[in-house]
Amino acid sequence: MTTRLCADAAEAVAGIQDGATVLVGGFGMAGMPVALIDALIRQGAEDLTIVSNNAGNGDTGLAALLAERRVRKVICSFPRQSDSYVFDALYRAGEIELEVVPQGTLAERMRAAGAGIGAFYCPTGVGTPLAEGKETRVIDGRAHVLEYPIRGDVALIGAHRADRMGNLVYRKTARNFGPVMATAATLVVAQVREVVEIGGIDPETVVTPGIYVDRVFVDQVLEDRVSQEARAC
C-alpha cells in the first residue's frame, strides 16, 4: 500500500505475469513510459494484452515488445500510424488481436474500472461498426451503447514529478492517459523525472494521489533525453 521508490527499472516492473493486461500511458511520445516499456521487454512476460492509445511506432518501445511476439492482443483507439509497421505486419498476418475503441470510450472504460462503475451507457459509436454486437438503449430519445470497464493488472505511466508518498504531477499534454490508468490497475508503476520530499508538491496541485501509485522509478535518462530534444529542436 505504501509507494515504493525503485532503484532501477527492472525492480519497477518486477513480477508482471504472463497473460497480464498492461495499461500503457502516453499519447505519442508525450507521457510515454519509455524506460518502463524497455524494462518490460527485458523482464520477459508474454501473452500480454496491451491497452494504450496506439500500437507502437518504429522499432522501439511498444513496437519492440510486439516484435518479440510478447503481445496477444492490443486494445487501442488508433493502431495505424505512418510508422506502425510492426503492428501492421502482425495484424495482417493474423498474429495479433485488435480491439479498436473510440478514444474517449477507451478513457471512460478505464475510468469506470477505477471508479467502481459496473458499466455505462455511452452515445459514442452508435450505428457504427464499433457498436456491432453491443447492447444498446435509447435514453431520453438518444441511442446509447453499453460499455464495460477495462481493468489492468498493471499500469505503466509516465509523470513529471513524484513525492515520496507517490503523489504525482504531470506536465502539459503529457498528462493524457496517466491519471486515468493509475486508477484502473492493480499494480501501478510511474516513471518520473524527479522525486521530491513529502511536502514538496502543493496538495492543491496533485493530479494523481499517492493512493493509486505502487512503485515510482526516476528515469534520469528520460530527463536528459527530453532536455536534449528540447535543445536540439
Partner: protein
C-alpha cells in the same frame, strides 16, 4: 472553386467570437491560421488542453506539449490541462460549441464517414473521431466535394463505415457550403458551380440558398 485555405478561411469566418472549438486532424487544422487574433476562439485539443496556441517552432518545441495530431504546439494565456477522461467528458458532454472534422463521405441525413475506408486490408483506427462527431454541439465537416476520380462525397447514404449518425450540421467543400437539417440539404453558398449543376452531379435532393444573403453567421 475554393482552395483548401479559402475553405479554411470560410469556416473560420463562421466560428462565433469566443467559441470553444476542436479542429480535427488534417484539413481542419488549417482553420486555426484564419481565426482573427481578437476572435477569442478557444481551441480544445482532445489530448487534454484548452486554449491551445499555434504550432511550435524552434526553441518553442516541447515534447510534453502536442496537439491531437502529435504536432508540437504552444500554450496561450488562460490555458488549462486535464486528463483524457476529463477531456472526452468535456466533448461528450456537449460543452464544445463546434468541432470541425474531415470527411470521406457525408450523407444527406448528416451521417458521417471519416475513419475507415472499409477496404478489407485496411487497419481500423478511429482515434477521437467518433467522440467528436457525437460530442460537439455543432459539427462542421470540411472536405472536397468530389473524390479524385470525381465521385461525390455528399451522398444519399454513406457506403464507407460510419463515424456517427445524423451528426453533421454543415459541410464546407471547395464547390459549395451545405446546411444539413430538418429542411434537408440546403445549399448555402456556391463557388463557381451553380446550384443546378450541383444538383446534377450530386444524387441528393438540394434546396436553394438558405437566405437571400448567404452571409456569415451571427455571433
Amino acid at each position: 472553386m475554393l482552395t483548401k485555405h479559402q475553405m479554411a478561411a470560410l469556416v473560420a469566418a463562421d466560428i462565433p467570437r469566443g467559441a470553444f472549438v476542436n479542429l480535427g486532424i488534417g484539413l481542419p487544422t488549417l482553420v486555426a491560421d484564419h481565426l482573427a487574433a481578437d476572435s477569442g476562439v478557444v481551441l480544445h485539443t482532445e489530448n487534454g488542453m484548452l486554449n491551445m496556441g499555434p504550432a511550435a517552432h524552434g526553441e518553442q518545441i516541447d515534447p510534453d506539449l502536442t496537439n491531437a495530431g502529435k504536432v508540437p504546439v504552444t500554450e496561450l494565456p488562460g490555458a488549462s490541462y486535464f486528463h483524457h477522461a476529463d477531456s472526452f467528458a468535456m466533448m461528450r458532454g456537449g460543452h464544445l460549441d463546434i468541432c470541425v472534422l474531415g470527411g470521406f463521405q457525408v450523407s444527406a441525413a448528416g451521417d458521417l464517414a471519416n475513419w475507415h475506408t472499409g477496404e478489407p486490408d485496411a487497419i481500423p483506427a478511429v482515434g477521437g473521431a467518433m467522440d467528436l462527431a457525437i460530442g460537439a454541439r455543432r459539427v462542421f465537416v470540411m472536405m472536397t466535394l468530389f473524390t479524385k476520380t470525381g465521385e461525390p462525397k455528399l451522398v444519399p447514404r454513406c457506403t464507407y463505415p460510419l463515424t456517427g449518425l445524423a451528426c453533421v450540421d454543415r459541410v464546407y467543400t471547395d464547390h459549395a457550403v451545405f446546411e444539413l437539417g430538418a429542411r434537408g440539404v440546403v445549399v448555402r453558398e456556391t463557388f463557381g458551380m451553380g446550384v443546378e449543376e450541383l444538383a446534377e452531379r450530386l444524387e441528393v435532393p438540394l434546396s436553394g440558398f438558405a437566405s437571400a444573403e448567404p452571409g456569415r453567421d451571427e455571433a
